[in-house]
Subunit: 403 residues, 2 copies
């Protein structure tokens, strides 16, 4: 199959491109390097060094004999989207190319507007390009489990059968997202669902949990093939932060009581899920939703597991929760559709935590301890990042609607 | 009370401003004249001539002795929003200032992107300005009944109590909007609900039905105080189109079978509802939703009523539905909250239809019959409007994210 991976230079996009390439697909990667730009804005770096996309692609060719074709441009540039789809002619488009950090979207007005315009316009441009060129192209879109929030009933996969005053219908599952970033994904889901209805497009929305893990079969072949490892307060995910804190001798900082429970999955399962979705496309006109995670953990449980694996001396500190979220809540979410397609999960074992701690040990000298603390406060309208220049949001907000 | 009416130069914004002014409130109006710009783009005009905002405001002062303060600028310009709120210091903001035509949003990619960026960014800027300056300001936001779509269960006011696998929660009512415009309002609703939660803002979302009627107590005092009357295929609402078709001797064009049922209300009730909402503000942190309509009609029923009132010779023609919508469906929607606050509805009597026909007769020489036919096709990605220059969307899409 011909598969275009949007955001193919990112944490998950790059390993996905390599995985699909190795499994015999013709893969193109699209990226604007916005993610690398955020590093300049924040003054932080991936803990694991990453090389330029061009060098990654050359190294992959050298080691595997396989070609991954790079396309450099931004999805908010409609002419670029149309041109790229027309040139590559994909059977499937895997869409990771969005601003994906909740704290980043909550820095201030500019970052909220940037995130929503960037994500929503990029996806609209993509939907129009597919509808214009080939309505059989299967859009595999990365959503997030965070679209659902934490309702007091079971979370289902995208839809809910509701009986009300004696009548029944199957309706989109109600959404209660918790940041302007999560909201942008909810907006996308509604837009894509509508495009499927009016244009007969095929789409799969993968409501992904929090991904952990760093190495894949492909990325570990050579340091040049490594993917990012983010641990900072804005882009770092919780398990990465805890591991970096553990190896640098800092307490593991749990936001609030730590009862916040979230679906999670191993990076290896992300790759497998994407492949399952691509190889079993949605029907024409179908907006299909999969909940893409394998296990649920509370933040407290994660901290305890890291502390135990890392050993004596590792402490846990409860800090004030900068977010507005329930610290204790009901959480039970369905995730059977990918299992039905054949997913065999890799679980969060102590060995997995150990491998993450090893990554952190190996690059310990690259850790910037000032980058880990939470700096973005949901209740405020503007957070001052010590490291931020304040220039980025303004620039990109305008750029995002160009063309 | 000090009330700022955003979109105060438009069809409903202007009569609302006058009504609130006459009822003793201090009123400011904000407008970018985007609506007048769409007329240039489409090459059509309001059937009833309208004068400049500055002249309207002067005439109102002359006739009533009351001041309505105009602010000219665009909500997508954050500095303008911040400055205007800071200068006027409103107790309530009534927000009509969005691109409000479903067909306009479906013309092509540029118009879809423009509509979503314009509406979502304008509302985000407003939410930030309120959160920064005064979280007690009550935001009264115009939504639409079209956010709900046509589910096979009763539509409730914003929320739905759902029991699922033995547990119960009250969740946002699931939305199935039918155009990129309607989707922009759903995005707004989610963004506003979140802002209420994190910042403790007060907001009322008025999910309004289709408004009919032209004159109010205030606008009929002088021709300079008249509001717009749109009848074209892009901005004209269904009843206006039927009345113009009747007086010009054309068949009333019903899209499809005409079983599409929608909530409707008289312009006089819009004014009353806004005042009720403003005078009974939402609680701090409350995102309150009212369904603002008084009666439901199918398109077929409306055509039949106009034909009967207009008299012999008026014919009805079923044309292919350019939209993607159910032509026959269940429709029952709650609308009791405004009645509970004291709303006394003005119903769609034959006299009301007669008064609309009279408006059309009076301005019959201004009718452009080529403007009435539907030109925007939901199933296509680009509709060529005979009258459109094609320049507007591109320009404003960029403008929408400036600041």
């Amino acid at each position: 199959m011909r598969i275009l991976v949007l955001g193919g230079d990112g944490y998950l996009g790059w390993p996905t491109a390599l995985y699909l390439s190795r499994r015999g697909h013709d893969v193109g990667v699209v990226d604007s390097f916005a993610r690398r730009q955020y590093d300049f804005e924040m003054g932080v770096d991936s803990l694991v060094p990453i090389v330029h996309l061009q060098q990654r692609v050359r190294r992959w060719k050298e080691l595997s004999g396989l070609t991954v074709e790079p396309f450099v441009g931004d999805l908010t540039d409609a002419a670029f989207v149309t041109g790229t789809l027309g040139t590559f002619r994909p059977d499937a488009v895997v869409h990771f190319a969005e601003q994906r950090s909740a704290p980043y979207s909550m820095i201030d007005r500019q970052h909220a507007v940037y995130t929503q315009v960037n994500n929503v316009v990029g996806t609209l441009n993509l939907l129009y390009a597919i509808a214009e060129q080939d309505r059989d192209v299967h859009l595999v879109k990365l959503g997030t489990m965070g679209e659902y929030g934490t309702p007091n009933i079971d979370i289902e996969e995208g839809y809910l059968e509701i009986t009300h005053r004696g009548r029944t219908d199957v309706l989109p599952y109600p959404k209660q997202p918790g940041s302007f970033y999560h909201l942008s994904k909810v907006h996308d889901s509604h837009n894509i669902m509508f495009a499927c209805r009016i244009w007969g497009i095929r789409a799969t929305d993968l409501n992904q949990g929090i991904v952990y893990g760093h190495e894949t079969e492909e990325t570990k072949l050579h340091p040049d093939l490594a993917t990012r490892f983010d641990y900072d307060g804005v882009f770092g995910t919780v398990l990465n932060r805890f591991c970096v804190q553990a190896v640098t001798g800092h307490p593991l900082t749990v936001y609030g009581s730590g009862g916040q429970t979230r679906g999670m999955l191993n990076i290896l399962d992300t790759l497998a899920c994407i492949e399952l979705a691509v190889e079993h496309p949605a029907e024409r006109g179908e907006f299909r939703v999969f909940n893409q995670f394998t296990e649920s953990f509370s933040v407290k449980q994660l901290a305890e597991q890291v502390a135990e694996v890392h050993g004596p001396g590792t402490t846990i500190e409860n800090v004030e929760d900068p977010r507005v979220e329930k610290e204790e809540h009901y959480y039970r979410a369905a995730h059977t559709k990918l299992l039905d397609l054949g997913l065999v999960p890799h679980l969060l074992t102590d060995d997995v935590v150990r491998s993450l701690l090893e990554v952190c040990e190996r690059h310990r000298d690259r850790v910037d301890p000032t980058a880990i603390r939470p700096t973005v406060e949901w209740r405020q309208t503007a957070s001052r990042l010590a490291t931020a220049s304040g220039l980025h949001g303004r620039g990109d907000e305008v750029g995002a609607a160009r063309s």
